[in-house]
């Protein structure tokens, strides 16, 4: 139909390939969410992608007390594929967040995948609200 529609699909498929081939994500699917013109990718990373700092602290405490590492299963992530040259607004980001189902715990989050012309993709975690940074 319109050019932007096609553009979004192309960017999403490039990111989709990158997740599948370079980062070994599993169960990848492209979703069309109601109210969003852009497709969203959903998939399962090989290991947990994001651990909230409070959970990090709890995991460290657990490791210290029991001597064994806390096990964290990977979680499904929502990926928003964009091109590096695009411009977004707070309102368009908020629309994406609003279209997502509620997170099981913690704040809603998406993985922002920025695609460049040389097919480099960089990934950023975007969370709703003021979420303190991870300790690394």
């Amino acid at each position: 139909m319109d050019a932007s529609h096609q553009f979004g699909a192309d960017v999403a498929s490039a990111v989709f390939e990158n997740l599948q081939e370079q980062h070994q994500w599993a169960s990848l699917q492209i979703h069309r969410l109601p109210g969003l013109s852009r497709p969203m990718i959903r998939g399962l990373p090989p290991r947990l992608l994001y651990l909230h700092p409070d959970d990090q602290i709890a995991a460290l405490a657990y490791e210290k007390s029991t001597g064994t590492r806390a096990q964290h299963d990977a979680e499904f992530e929502w990926v928003l594929a964009v091109h590096l040259a695009e411009k977004w607004t707070l309102s368009s980001l908020a629309a994406v967040m609003d279209a997502l189902p509620e997170a099981r715990k913690r704040a809603k989050r998406i993985v922002l995948a920025a695609l460049h012309n040389d097919s480099t993709v960089v990934y950023y975690i975007v969370q709703e609200g003021m979420i303190k940074p991870r300790q690394n």
Binding site: H23, P45, L49, Y50, V82, H83, L84, A85, E86, K87, W88, T89, L90, S91, L93, A94, M97, V111, L112, A114, V122, Y123, Y124, I125, V126, Q127, E128, G129, M130, I131, K132, P133, R134, Q135, N136
Partner: protein, 275 residues
């Protein structure tokens, strides 16, 4: 615990800058309103030294707006206040002011004299020890008590400019589209310092900056203002490299909140995903 009624903090507006001169007000701002401001005062004789700055502190316009609307502070047109106070200085007020200067000067002299006497007594006791060991006489040290303190010229105008003359009306808000993020963060107990060293507008601390590391580098945007993805990538990457999150946020115009004390702000925290 019942708190005594809090005094409003006087913010002086001088040639477009917002300054707080009173040390008590500065500490009250820091204690009660989680605002630390930026020290900008230097010495008149060494105006180029900018490593150790002192009072006054300068506040950002949006901080001032937030403080005023939170009912913590009020803004005074300090130039007009001084001009009118100086022009209307009658002989009686003049005498009273000179008297207040004199009493302040005497008080300062007294403090200096006490400090000097204290130093002299410490030096004398040291000298005594020395003398006990080296059998030298104390004439070298006896001069210490003769040291006269420097004459102090009080430069303060607190005693003749009444603190609330020429107070600006509360609704002197600038464009309220911007500043909502600042107000939101102040209202939620965050401290802010200038974020320039991390390429953002604010460094945001979860508590006093002397006790905490910053958690966020924050930029405010309008609700429909375009944000280049490259800025998100750059900000997110730099913030993660310094163990912070990159925060973008702004006022959401459509949202209505039941408690209208704080603006409806929507914010997003961005970190590098590490892949």
């Amino acid at each position: 615990m019942e708190q005594p009624p809090q005094q409003l903090i006087r913010i002086a507006n001088i040639s477009g800058r917002y300054l707080v001169f009173d040390p008590d007000a500065v500490s009250a701002l820091r204690r009660r309103a989680n605002t630390n401001g930026t020290l900008v005062g230097t010495t008149p004789q060494q105006p180029t030294q900018n490593i150790f700055l002192g009072l006054p502190i300068e506040l950002r316009p949006e901080e001032v707006d937030a403080l005023v609307s939170a009912g913590v502070a009020y803004v005074v047109d300090d130039v007009a206040a001084h001009r009118s106070a100086l022009l209307s200085l009658g002989p009686d007020e003049r005498r009273a002011y000179i008297g207040s200067l004199r009493s302040r000067k005497q008080a300062a002299h007294k403090v200096f004299a006490e400090v000097t006497a204290q130093k002299a007594s410490i030096a004398a006791s040291k000298a005594e020890k020395l003398r006990d060991s080296a059998k030298s006489d104390g004439s070298l040290y006896s001069r210490n008590s003769q040291v006269t303190s420097l004459g102090v010229t009080p430069t303060s105008s607190v005693h003749y400019v009444s603190p609330d003359s020429h107070a600006l009306p509360v609704e002197h808000h600038r464009d309220s589209e911007k500043g909502a993020l600042c107000q939101f963060m102040l209202g939620n107990g965050y401290f802010m310092t200038p974020g320039l060293r991390f390429g953002a507008r604010y460094s945001v601390y979860p508590g006093d900056p002397l006790r905490f590391h910053a958690h966020f580098m924050a930029n405010e945007y309008g609700w429909e203002e375009e944000i280049p993805i490259l800025d998100i990538v750059g900000g997110g990457r730099l913030a993660t490299a310094v163990k912070k999150a990159f925060l973008i946020g702004g006022r959401e115009p459509s949202a209505t909140k039941p408690d209208a004390a704080l603006p409806a702000v929507r914010s997003f925290s961005i970190e590098w995903a590490g892949m």
